[in-house]
């Protein structure tokens, strides 16, 4: 193997510093959330305890953390499933030309780059002016989809750009109907990428703030609840909550990545039956 140039070590150090920059603050608040009862928002640590975590489970003076967590979780699942189904359908649709395809593509890009507060404001106004109630499961749900769907569809574009069409042609030559081709050939092949779409759908919804701000109605989602806490809570209980939600996010991400990794390995092991045929 070639000897590593000096630039490698410079860039590797830079990369290490970047990771520290990326994760350092999160690790810091994770440590500080174990402050003793007398501790404050910064170092030094005054003892070690679970005081602030147990505080989270007490009746809160402000807000409703566990209710908002349940709502965010439910909303995340709703958005995730919708994102996967709608993205796959749209991804399949975009493989052929259809009237308005270009316009639709530009709408997807607009949906991605439009300032979130515009969606929040517009959807909020639309619902209130037409006499509908804003609620996290209706207006909030739709607003979040405008953020998760573009990611899902861009992933589908990337997947289908690399898709080997000859598998489908083989299926069709063997007499599979359109639906059978999609169900037994296309979907199993793209399944690992759907895990990626689901990951984006859930996590982006679970952490979404700006698009939900004016569209969630009177029941807050978790990020809105946390935002409310930042203005009036000045104890490490904020860090404890942050540590818990970040830990939960890591758990979800780990689960998704684990599933993707396993399904890739299974495919590598069992996907090809080359050499196992009857001769």
């Amino acid at each position: 193997m070639e000897r590593r140039p000096r630039s490698f070590y410079v860039l590797a150090t830079f990369f290490g510093l970047f990771l520290l920059f990326l994760y350092g603050p999160t690790i810091t608040i994770a440590i500080l959330s174990f402050q003793g009862p007398g501790g404050g928002l910064t170092f030094p640590m005054r003892g070690m305890s679970f005081y602030w975590f147990s505080d989270l489970f007490e009746q809160q003076a402000v807000g409703d953390i566990w209710g908002s967590f349940r709502r965010s979780f439910a909303l995340g699942l709703m958005v995730m499933m919708t994102t996967v189904v709608v993205s796959v359908m749209a991804g399949l649709a975009f493989r052929q030309r259809f009237p308005g395809a270009d316009l639709l593509f530009y709408l997807i890009i607009t949906s991605l780059v439009i300032p979130s507060i515009l969606i929040s404001l517009g959807v909020g106004l639309m619902f209130s002016q037409s006499g509908l109630d804003v609620h996290w499961s209706t207006s909030g749900f739709g607003s979040q989809l405008t953020w998760t769907l573009p990611f899902g569809i861009l992933i589908m574009f990337a997947v289908f750009n690399r898709f080997e069409k000859s598998y489908e042609e083989a299926a069709r030559d063997l007499g599979a109907s359109n639906w059978q081709t999609v169900r037994y050939v296309v979907l199993p092949i793209i399944a690992p990428s759907l895990i990626g779409v689901a990951l984006f759908g859930f996590t982006l919804s679970y952490d979404e703030f700006a698009r939900t701000l004016l569209t969630a109605g009177s029941y807050n989602t978790l990020p809105l609840e946390i935002y409310g806490m930042t203005t009036n809570v000045t104890t490490p209980v904020l860090y404890a909550l942050g540590t818990l939600t970040t830990g939960f996010s890591f758990l979800i991400i780990g689960a998704f990545l684990g599933i993707a990794w396993r399904s890739n390995r299974r495919r590598a092991r069992a996907g090809s039956d080359a050499g196992k045929g009857l001769i």
Binding site: L22, P25, A90, Q96, T146
Partner: protein
């Protein structure tokens, strides 16, 4: 169908069968077009109801009148007159632009270096994927928590100040770390560098390594290869990253509010302040101007890159 046309034996004149097949193919394309439209219809419905109609609503309301308690349908230009006639607007737009440009420069430099390291210096694919995932994981966690987590670093008695004091660089804690423009841009870079890394890394991974070898064989130095080969070939990724970073920063309101301690303003905060005061028409007018600005920027950038090709 494409298979049969490929395997068609040359020299045999097209028979009736082929003609009817061609006709079936023709009618087939219109029906697949319809089928595609049907498949895309859920997406179309979502975008219509939660993107197009809300934007329309904002445009309409931007011409309405507001009293202290309610908004009244009307067609007046006063919201725009007030907006465009006020010094504050220009200052705030300029400030927004300042955040966008500084953040763009920082994220581009960091993002390019990180992507370059991952794509050209990390040699095994497993490590590339692992390190790349390490860069992307924070994207799937909460932005607000990530902002909050800067408090123990930047606060008056925070880690940065106490380190600087113990090193003897400063004697008194500096006040401008948290709740300042510095903190705002630091948070932007922290949150959005990923949006540069991913597309640049994606284009860099497609660069044919033989091009680099060819350049080296032809006597190019490392810097020349970087400047004349890698950067031009990475341009599409840089453009996509630029689109992301500029629009995210220009449309932001929460980072600026939180990290500046409500001391600085950008356009997003202008809108959210109006909303808080229930001045929806004025918020809508600002939103329309912001949207136009963003779309013009994107329109210009999209001329340099074909997003669908780059995925």
């Amino acid at each position: 169908m494409t298979v049969s046309s490929k395997t068609g034996v040359p020299g045999i004149s097209p028979g009736i069968k082929d003609v009817s097949r061609a006709r079936a193919k023709l009618s087939g394309t219109t029906s697949t077009g319809f089928k595609s439209l049907l498949m895309a219809s859920p997406l179309i419905a979502v975008l219509l109801f939660f993107l197009v109609l809300p934007i329309g609503m904002i445009v309409v309301v931007s011409f309405w009148q507001a009293t202290e308690f309610s908004i009244i349908p009307a067609f007046v230009l006063e919201n725009y007159e007030f907006l465009l006639g006020s010094d504050v607007t220009y200052r705030v737009f300029l400030n927004t632009l300042k955040y966008a440009v500084i953040t763009w420069v920082c994220t581009l430099l960091i993002g390019f270096a990180v992507a370059y390291f991952l794509a050209f210096h990390v040699r095994s694919l497993t490590w590339q994927i692992t390190l790349f995932l390490l860069c992307t994981i924070p994207f799937w966690t909460s932005n607000i928590i990530r902002m909050i987590s800067w408090i123990p670093f930047l606060g008056r008695n925070g880690i940065a100040n106490s380190t600087l004091i113990s090193l003897g660089v400063i004697e008194e804690p500096v006040e401008w770390l948290l709740f300042s423009d510095f903190a705002v841009i630091l948070a932007f870079v922290h949150l959005y560098t990923l949006f540069m890394i991913v597309p640049i890394f994606n284009t860099m991974m497609r660069i044919d390594h033989s091009l680099i070898e060819a350049a080296r064989d032809a006597g190019a130095s490392g810097a020349q290869i970087l400047w004349n080969v890698i950067i031009p070939l990475s341009k599409p990724g840089i453009m996509i990253g630029t689109i992301f970073v500029l629009t995210l920063v220009m449309g932001d309101f929460i980072t600026v509010r939180f990290m500046s301690g409500s001391q600085s303003a950008n356009v997003g905060r202008l809108i959210s302040n109006d909303v808080a005061l229930l001045q929806y028409p004025s918020a809508a007018a600002t939103a329309v101007v912001l949207l136009l600005t963003v779309l013009i920027v994107i329109g210009i950038l999209l001329r340099f890159v074909d997003i669908r090709k780059e995925l």
